[in-house]
């Protein structure tokens, strides 16, 4: 039997693939890399593309699309930390800007000084309401 290597493909939202493989190909930033068991420790950024996994005793390769991420290779384990969103400096920047603008819009026409007294009153009121409900509930039982 051919040598195998353990492959984990995970994204922040879920675990995508985990199992043994004879060979893995991944789209690294400088071109596709192929990894056989006992590869030297290697770490690379990935660009969007397909990760191919040759599973033992199976004709067809498993193909998993990733929109970027990080590939980490240890002698016996290959880990693909897949991104769930298309990333890029400009895209990230645009997203950050959007979040900033949304905040600015939400903060418009609001007093700039943090009013602790008012905040505490608000929270105290909410807590008092909850407490009352709890007390009422106890009385009922």
């Amino acid at each position: 039997m051919a040598m195998t290597i353990h492959v984990d493909i995970v994204s922040a939202e879920q675990s995508i693939y985990s199992g043994l493989a004879e060979f893995v190909a991944a789209p690294a930033v400088r071109g596709e890399v192929g990894i056989y068991p006992r590869h030297a420790p290697f770490i690379s950024l990935l660009r969007p593309g397909a990760v191919r996994v040759k599973v033992p005793n199976q004709e067809e390769e498993e193909v998993i699309f990733v929109s970027g991420g990080i590939l980490e290779v240890q002698p016996s384990v290959v880990t693909v930390l897949a991104d769930t969103a298309i990333r890029g400096h400009d895209i990230d920047e645009a997203k950050a800007l959007e979040a900033k603008q949304a905040a600015e819009e939400a903060m418009k026409d609001k007093s700039s000084k943090l009013d602790y007294a008012r905040a505490q009153v608000e929270l105290a009121e909410a807590m008092a309401q909850l407490q009352t409900i709890r007390k009422l509930r106890k009385k009922d039982h």
Binding site: R30, F42, T84, K95, A99, Y116
Partner: protein, 287 residues
Amino acid sequence: MPGSKEIRNKIKSIENTRKITKAMEMVAASKMRKAQDRMRAARPYAEKIRNVAAHLSHAHPEYKHPFLIKRDSVKNVGLIIITSDKGLCGGLNTNVLRMALSRMKEWEGEGKAISICAIGNKGLGFMSRIGGNVKSQVHGLGDAPHMEKLIGPVKVMLDAFVSGEIDALYMCYTRFINTMKQEPVLEQLLPLSGEKLGSAEGHWDYIYEPNAKEVIDDLLIRYVESLVFHAVAENMASEQSARMVAMKAASDNAKNVISELKLMYNKERQAAITKEISEIVSGAAAV
């Protein structure tokens, strides 16, 4: 029977309320299960990326990423506040906001300026009402957290940290312990502490592509994002279970009120009947 019609109406209206709270309870229960699954699904990534980050920080001591450098004096702090988008979930948001507020008061007392990143409607509304300095925000996350929506607001804070606008970044959210128990927590995100990363087993250096600096930069940003993502997922599980418990309590309360009102209604009815009978009897006796 003067009062009985009103009582009947009241019973009817409370029964309708109960139907709603009961439905919300069941919806929250099914969403809770899914939210918990999502929380668990996010764990392997968090663990893997933590491992790799730990390994890199050990294998590559000569390049120190800004995220790892502790600053001598902390003058400005950033705070990511994670709350739910919707209410009706008991004291969940109130507890986390109270915790954040008391910490903010402390910071302000020490003369530190605070920048806020609000994730979730409730925290945003609260902070804008009391006049907090909200730098970035996102709301309307839906039932499933998506990394895509979090990248922007988190990047604003990370950029602020790198540029020196803030010297430390904290995050507060509600940790999910079990269905009945959720706990507000406030923890430090940046600078990343060495203990939190832990030590990696084995020792080797990697072949880097394209180069060590770029890989480490990208990896650490993703690591922080995954921490925030996990907190959001956990907060959502907390939200659903808190809502389920709150709605269950509301349904139980409605049930109690209904049974009390029914008792009242029956007494009233009985009294009316007794009165009528006694009137008939006394009428018959008179004849």
